[in-house]
């Protein structure tokens, strides 16, 4: 068999021969980073809401103590998972937990991978969302409280929607980081894009061509994701137009107001 001699020749050859590997790896990377980011986001929302539970002078001592304990545990979680590399977390959680018998031997690796990325992202998200909550004017929470909403109701329907809008750029960052950094999971043999590329490169020892292809795939993934997130942001900003309703009997008197959409 004649082997290619040029760079593009090799690229074409490798794509034809290992296209499937690249595709499977890309799929796995997307699956892990997307679910990991979404679950991590939910973890972050829950942690941030728990950390902001208010106490007042009538709060019983036991509740106060429980809340203090909860805060310690949540802070511990955030510090540990932000303060250690994901590659180390992967080793500890996968091999360590398996040795200790905490996870069954037959557990599918993608499930473990998603668990690792989720719990790691959750720690970052908790802090990002805390920042988002701080960015929402205190009066919003007070107004919700003043019409009788509970902490959870005011968080869910007033504070968090605004906080999340404000932190969308950071959430996008996390997603992009997860797409790229899920590559470290190759140490526990997750068949994501980097792992698959390594296998493909090994066969003909064409590291340059294979990883050029891999780099382009990562770039396409991250670029597409950031564009989609920008679209979601615009959607969250709501309609730029509203209609001043006319009189009930003469609906033609309605006036539509259009505001300039600002970029940014």
């Amino acid at each position: 068999m004649q082997l290619p001699s040029s760079f593009f020749g090799w690229v074409g050859f490798l794509l034809e021969k290992y296209g499937n590997l690249f595709l499977l790896g890309t799929g796995m990377t997307l699956l892990i980073s997307l679910t990991g980011t979404v679950i991590g986001f939910v973890i972050g929302l829950i942690v941030a809401t728990l950390r902001t539970i208010p106490v007042n002078r009538r709060t019983p001592g036991t509740v106060r103590a429980l809340k203090a304990l909860l805060n310690v545990l949540l802070n511990l979680y955030i510090e540990v998972f932000r303060g250690t590399p994901m590659i180390v977390q992967a080793m500890v959680i996968y091999y360590g937990a398996m040795q200790a018998g905490l996870i069954a031997r037959g557990t599918p690796i993608p499930v473990v991978a998603i668990f690792i990325v989720s719990i790691n992202t959750g720690a970052y998200m908790a802090e990002i969302i805390r920042g988002g909550i701080i960015s929402v004017d205190k009066g919003q929470k007070e107004a919700a409280q003043a019409i009788g909403m509970t902490h959870w109701q005011s968080m869910v329907s007033v504070v968090l929607p605004q906080a999340v809008r404000n932190i969308m750029p950071s959430i996008g960052n996390e997603f992009v980081v997860n797409i790229k950094d899920s590559s470290v999971l190759n140490v526990i043999a997750v068949s994501e894009l980097f792992f698959m590329s390594k296998s493909a490169a090994g066969a003909y020892l064409r590291y340059f061509e294979v990883f050029a292809i891999t780099a382009v795939i990562y770039l396409i993934l991250t670029f597409t994701v950031t564009r989609i997130l920008r679209l979601i942001e615009r959607k969250m900003d709501g309609s730029a137009t509203y209609t001043i309703l006319g009189s009930q009997t003469f609906s033609q008197s309605a006036i539509t107001i259009r505001e300039e959409k600002k970029e940014g």
Binding site: R57, E142, I147, Q153, I244
Partner: protein
Amino acid sequence: MQEPSYVLEISHLNKCFGTHEVLTDISFTVQTGDVTCIIGASGSGKSTLLRCINFLEDPTAGQILFHGRDAETQWKRAEYHAKVGMVFQSFNLFNNMTVLDNCVAGQVKVLGRDRKTAVQKSVQYLDKVGMAPYQNARPAQLSGGQKQRVAIARALAMDPEVLLFDEPTSALDPEMVGEVLAVMRDLAQGGLTMLIVTHEMSFARDVANRVIFMDQGLIAEDGAPSEIFTQPKQARTREFLSRVLNR
């Protein structure tokens, strides 16, 4: 058994921020239909008093009775908040909702009304404050006066018995103050019980049936507007009034 005749009874209310005492032994009562204006210099504790009545600040000591029952222990917090509404200086409309949803949210979430009833009620009150045509707008698209009128409609939609106003016109451009005061005047004439912290002396004189003058965390003088504004008993009341009235 005789029904307690006071809607609100504030007794021996104290509030400290750290070692700094902001409110000292505040006691007064409010009857149904009372329009009470609380006046006084900045930093005299007016807003803190209102915020304590609504538990946005935790009182350090003292008691607030609503219909004779302790508001902190004998009322469910949500129920109390629904019955004692609040209008803020900075409006605090929910920025993530339209004007209509601002009024609907509390009714659905807190009072458990179905959306259709809540929308009807919201439109009715938005109409009362002249904001019904703007129900699809978002807060960012409104002027200050419009926002405050929506905030009033939002509070009214909860069918409160008492409405607390925390300097409702202080953040407004001068030409918008009138439209908000007009709405409040209307509410007062409709018999709503109102407790208003304000710097609008002519409003206090014309609309309130009672004026409380606060100075350094204490109620310095308390009486009918005609007494307070024409023959104040205390020297500090006279001094304050001469400062604000002769601008």
